[in-house]
Symmetry: C3
Subunit: 676 residues, 3 copies
């Protein structure tokens, strides 16, 4: 069995956000909570999120008594505590006394008090207050046996354009570029007479000023990540000093574009994320939603290549989708298990009990305003609690992976900024299409930044690798030379890390050699336009973007079927060293990718389940030293027949042995333990 | 005959806005106006609206001569005057000398001079100026026999966020809550650490600060009504002191969401409103538009349960719809009579003569830029003038009502604020659907606030009674106990008047006992989703929102036909005391409501016309001590056959007797007087 | 042969924007540029646009060396230079030292540094800097034989609301109106109490203040043109003093609504414009796009009734359309020739070489990031260069025109401001429909302002002549009296130049006499509504707007087929003096206009090609003293058979003689020289 995230707690973590500070006037309810938690098989609560006003009701006046009591109760009940620092929202007294700790927006308007997640990350006052508060919390609760983890702040995000931040940004730029001349060259400020004479002349992007200087936009976004991470590091410092053995996390927001989590991952001990897919979405199957959610789980596991926490999810519905559908019976258990299948060692909810007022009062929770356990939601939550108790063996287990899909945050930003081509660039959708073709085959997949190490994989899929950061091209070539397979698409190798075009032909920075093609022009298609890919067994549709490429060493596998570039190559293969490189010059329909990756997976002999994975079924494998755990999950919205073929294992949930043909009921799942 | 609104003028009022101040340089046109008014059978003009610059051209320099002359002319011509106070727009000199009287918006930006309806209601300077101006007007014209009514300002609306208003808001909050602790509890500020230590820390909602604290949003909206009403009361004070016998009104804007007219109604003597439906709307029948308009007429009559004024309407078209269609021949007379049918004792236009310039120059008016009487519009206006002269008996007559539909302003706001469920909540549309099912049967209907007295009704329809204010639940239970029938729908009894959820199960605050059901969960449907209601004679479609309810004493009349709550109740009936309560747990298609209310009206024996009302025909009855006046109006856009059955009456317009079978021509109407 | 625009250069100008200042660190590339220019048959470069930072890197520190070198190179290579003044964008140092030279927007927010085209036109500092810079440029390069033209700034546009501009605006108003009373009368400020006591009280339109006082809006727009032109005149002054013989131009933006080019045309010597149609637009044929583009070419030629320059176009695609499609093979040459056909004596591109970074890096250019000549785009550019070298005879030749279509900037603004009627007014679309019906017949057409002289035409088409400026009605009547034909539509003659309605009936200002009809009412139709025009050989559909008119001397040619005005006239003809006037009272489908104008062109015997012009073919004729040049262009997207009938000429491109039947290949064209 692997290492558990909570020291000395070798079980799946089950619980979620708990806000007793909102209910201090109702001691009866606080008592009842403990009783209900046990009934729900909950073993963890995350407390203190947004509790600043409760902890420091006036400047310098502190109140920890209520929190002491919560700790006592949890200790007595044997429930673990993740203690949050309260920096996610400031009390009104603080905003009135120190308005500079509130944000300045890109229009340069100072915020008024309100909402949350809106402090200036550079404010010296706020940094001091947070340090003091975190120190007090750590000192006070360091000896509680219930304290198992720190949760700093909540869903870091957003940006501030105040003078503190401008100064920090300029300093960051100076450190990055060394000289203003180098910055001018990288940002290509000769265009529109935008050259700067000093770093002092630079301001953050603004709709009132500069908003389409791509180098500035990119560096500002990077600075926002840098400064947020720096703030987080300062939050963590006193915690680590006082409680060095308590792990620290913060709740990331999936693939939130505002922060580059790859630059923040090393600052925390454990990755956590808040998962709120639109289950039962309009015009989308449950399996499609599950695939998108799996993609984000895999990003979060890949960040540290180790188990993570599902820090928030809803047992029923959220309150911020346009249409907030109830999770259908069985769905909460199925999709919670999906998190575990992809590497989570917890299932946690926002939140335990619905608040009585304010804007999230109708967000799903374990305990409703109704207040009792005889609801469908509570009963399903309790059932899942019992199931999780059977998965101790899975805790801390690994995920073995042969294939990486590159989904790069900087590249995403740059493609977003890109002016030209088509408004139908859809980087995220394209990457997910490639991911899906592998996911449907039941492969374990890493989803990584382009700066990660490729050497442990057999296949690296790099869709729309528009931005090629220093060293990446070289490492890709080395990977292929040693036998690795690379998949490229159109829009590869156009710019460096500062969005400056490579000269001499695309794909640039030496990737032309790897791809074996030269991309001369890029045509954009209207939404209703289609081209076709011909020359393979089937004909496939092409849409959105078609690159006109020329062979420079590669061989054509398929050609365009239409338009003035009819007959020119659209799919090529280049043998390179011991490896190879595919180039897909246009956006194909999904069916092409499904067929293509089936062939590639087979050719390369990538690790996948020993049996065929029917449509709507997802398979993911975690493994310990002794065994493999096959998570076989039915997202097909109906019963599905399955032939397990040669494998034989015991379902950890039911204790029953499975092999050969079986039927997975609607929303059903198995956790088959197969001894090594 | 009832009491007339104009003292000693026992006729229907006919006229509208008249702006001679725009034409002072054209005395020939001012002369011609009088001649044309007589030709149009006009007996009233509303003057002085937006005339501040004409009355006080510079600070402290007054000019009443032109208005004296207008009064003289009207006295000579026997035309009644409604004199407006000019506060609806400020002259440029005032805005430049006193910018603080202009508004500050929610972003905290001060307005520049321009537009109208944009003064700060709290400005001490502006309140003083208005008091002085109104005093001068009242003193100067108090003895004119033409002066029949005051019209304060124009279409009050909007809000101001300046420091004067913030201070007044804080004072209002302090008075409402008594202590900051109580406010914190009601607004549930423990959420997101938002607790306040003093009222001084509170600011009005702002996109730059707080905008989703529902309690704050609601109270701010209430304060805006309070402060507007307070300003209006100050406007009225000098008028009442100097001309105590002249009634006061202001022109409301239908069901404008920005002001709660139920809190303002007692400040004026007579309700007036400006009616600008989109007649001949795209994809809507004339009858549908007429139904929506009838709904608003009924709101306005219900405000004081007495005759009101149709203060503004257009004889042809407006200038602010996206597509401004001409009223088809006959339509102006038909829809003007609809106002009278629903309780108006006037038909008034905006405006008498089209202005030569500025942005409303193409808004329909009686006299066109053309300037003569030989236009279609003028001739139709003159014809209606003659028709109205035949309705003296109707003046001041009552409307007897058995059924009330609750359409509550606070509830509307709260449902608008609500985060969660579905973006397809559509409170207004749902209420109107219920109203329509009664309107189509020809019933007189009151449309009321939930704080109104229910005791005089036999049926109270309360769709989506999400917010239940103090005492309302108790009064509803009492109403039912004594034999009344209540109709509830999904989303009933969730929050108190401050948007704080009732604990212990919905419908809360004791309404579960009345409804006999417990609503456990609320499912939201996508636009294309449908469920069905089964178990009745017909099957009906359900959409938008489906509540999962459990019987707690009620009996199920119909069940869900689909989804995981298939077979669970969707329509229930609970016997309660001598009365009963229906609960409709999902949004049905209109046909269900039509069938349902036919049954209910029949069962309860509610007062309705003695004959069948064909599709497209609307019937409303006013009554005096001696007679009933049946307004039978053809909105069907074609000739319609009608069987009057047992009733027999004289059409006041034609003087002809009607009974049995008859045909109502396209756009035709009857005003049948049936002796009691 | 006519006069050439470049003194002593009797060839078609071929080149475009060249930005060597972005590549000073790459002297190899600057060398290579010259070699490639020759290979591309380029004979002109436009330099210095946005080069302020390169020319004055710090306040008072100048650097002309690089520009000296460029001039030397061009002189050596025999390439002509259009030298731009750099005022289109300011360097960062200037914005930081003189923020007042940046704009204030209509919300009264001062801009921050960034973007371009955003200086305050009133700033004394910036006017001084521009004067100094332009003086230096003129003095330094006055003797270069390469200098052939000045290009002041770049794409003037936008507006500033700072106090300098407010003061200038007030002064402009005072000069226009003489007295505040006259302004009040013209703006009809009596409405909403908006009268001003002094010019000091007036501010520019703002969303925070006044935005729907139409007179103010119109005058502000006129002032923006006035002030921009004043700034431009100041830019030009030193150039003319130092280099009186070098012509001056600036690049207009087609029919950009922000500036009235008719008020600016006399300030420059030559008209230039930047043409970026959406070739291969979704759901539009190539011929439709070509027609819209021809319309704008004709506006630009009509401005001075002399040859103009195509200052910018793209050889492949732009970077700012939503979907940036590649120009298909042959299309660049075809549409470049279209410019020449309509009067351009140049074909110029933005830009020569793609920049390496910033937001326009993917805008099409002659030389790609790839950097070599073996691209499709470069080869097509070089081919066109060779073709243009064969058109020396066409340089400076005239365009003879019988018909003018009025497309008036002030009228467009006023119709845009208009509140009422329909949101489907579409002035531009309506004018273009009338233009199209003439364009398809191959006529040369002028597109003019209503203040232009009509006397040289035989037919004046004036669609939606809503605003009739002083003298226009009189001149139209005089034109018709002498035998001219006028075509009017609905919405004619409603307001004067200040948007004040004419009293006494529409069309006003005496146009009722010319049209012979009185327009009583205007009905607006929803998008899906249709009426019909009956009484002609065919029946036609009507949409959007239907005017109800009465004959006052005219005779009805066709009537309405539907609605309550069925049978009333919709198309009329009035004989007037020796001429006539048509009135089209509703918006017909295009087929009506096609048939109508075929008849009119035939009746009036207007000059058109001697042969039938097939669908998709465009014909335009330029002529010198000796010959006519028939540009016959195939926009049909397929090969088209053509019968040239009686004419016989030599194609200047191929040198081949053409007459009788021939076939024009897809994207093909002929430039037939027919001796007179």
């Amino acid at each position: 069995m692997g290492k558990s995230i909570f020291l000395g707690f070798p079980h799946m973590i089950y619980g979620g956000d708990y806000n007793p500070d909102q209910w201090l006037h109702r001691p009866d309810i606080l008592e009842e909570d403990i009783r209900l938690m046990k009934e729900a098989h909950v073993n963890e609560v995350s407390i203190g999120i947004f509790a600043w006003k409760a902890l420091e009701p006036e400047e310098g006046v502190y109140n920890f008594e209520w929190l002491d009591q919560v700790f006592r109760r949890m200790e007595e009940a044997g429930i673990n505590v993740i203690l949050a620092t309260p920096s996610g929202a400031r009390p009104a007294w603080m905003d009135h006394a120190h308005p500079e700790a509130m944000r300045t927006d890109s229009m340069r308007f100072k915020a008024l008090h309100g909402e949350r997640h809106n402090h200036c990350y550079s404010s010296p006052y706020y940094r001091k207050k947070v340090r003091e508060m975190n120190t007090m919390l750590a000192k006070r609760y360091k000896d509680s046996p219930a304290l198992k983890m720190w949760h700093v702040s909540n869903e870091y995000g957003g940006e501030c354009h105040c003078e503190y931040c401008q100064a920090a940004f300029r300093k960051w730029l100076e450190k990055k570029y060394g000289s203003i001349e180098e910055l001018n060259r990288q940002w290509w400020t000769g265009f529109w007479s935008h050259g700067f004479n000093s770093f002092e002349e630079i301001e953050s992007p603004s709709p009132r000023g500069e908003w389409e200087l791509h180098g500035l936009n990119l560096d500002w976004a990077r600075f926002v990540t840098y400064q947020t991470n720096d703030f987080m590091a300062e939050e963590i410092k006193p915690l680590k000093e006082i409680t060095p053995d308590v792990p620290v996390t913060t709740n990331f927001m999936g693939i939130y574009p505002g922060l580059d989590y790859w630059r923040m991952k090393d600052t925390v001990d454990v990755i956590s994320w808040d998962s709120y897919p639109t289950w039962h979405n309009d015009g989308e199957t449950l399996a499609q939603t599950a695939m998108s959610n799996a993609f984000i789980h895999d990003v979060n596991r890949s960040l540290k290549h180790q188990p993570f926490l599902l820090m928030e999810s809803t047992p029923s519905k959220v309150n911020w989708h346009k249409v907030n559908k109830l999770k259908r019976p069985g769905v909460n258990e199925l999709v919670s298990m999906q998190a575990v299948a992809h590497g989570s060692d917890s299932v946690q909810y926002f939140q335990w009990r619905k608040g009585q007022g304010a804007n999230e009062k109708f967000h799903g929770a374990v305990v409703d305003h109704y207040g009792k356990a005889d609801t469908r939601v509570f009963q399903e939550v309790a059932h899942l609690g019992q199931s999780l108790e059977k998965l101790d063996e899975v805790v801390g287990s690994d995920t073995a992976v042969d294939v990486a899909v590159i989904f790069d945050w900087n590249n995403r930003l740059a493609i977003g900024n890109l002016q030209g081509l088509s408004n139908r660039r859809d980087y995220e959708g394209v990457v997910r299409d490639h991911y899906r073709a592998l996911w449907e085959q039941g492969l374990n997949i890493d989803v990584i930044d382009e700066e990660e190490d490729f050497s442990s994989y057999k296949l690296v899929v790099a869709p729309m690798l528009y931005m090629v950061k220093p060293g990446v091209a070289e490492r890709l070539r080395a990977f292929a030379k040693k036998g690795g397979t690379v998949v490229f698409t159109y829009l590869t190798g156009l710019v460096n890390e500062n969005d400056l075009c490579f000269l001499g032909g695309f794909p640039g920075d030496g990737l032309m050699e790897l791809a074996g093609v030269w991309a001369e022009e890029i045509d954009a298609l209207y939404e209703s336009d289609r081209n076709s890919m011909i020359g393979l067994e089937k004909e496939y549709e092409l849409k959105d973007i078609c690159e006109i490429i020329h062979l420079k060493g590669a061989k054509a596998l398929a050609n365009y079927g239409e338009d003035f570039y009819q007959g020119q190559p659209v799919l090529t293969l280049n043998e390179y060293g011991k490896g190879r490189c595919y180039y897909i010059a246009a956006r194909p329909d999904y069916q092409f990718l499904a067929d293509f990756y089936k062939k590639v997976v087979k050719e390369l002999g990538l690790a996948k389940p020993e049996f065929d994975v029917p449509e709507g079924i997802s398979v993911t494998v975690r493994e310990s030293k002794e065994a493999k755990f096959y998570f076989i999950m039915n997202f097909a919205e109906k019963d599905v027949n399955l032939d397990l073929g040669s494998i034989c294992g015991v379902d950890l949930i039911s204790g029953q042995e499975y092999s050969g043909k079986t039927c997975l009921l609607k929303t059903g799942y198995l956790v088959l333990k197969v001894e090594k």
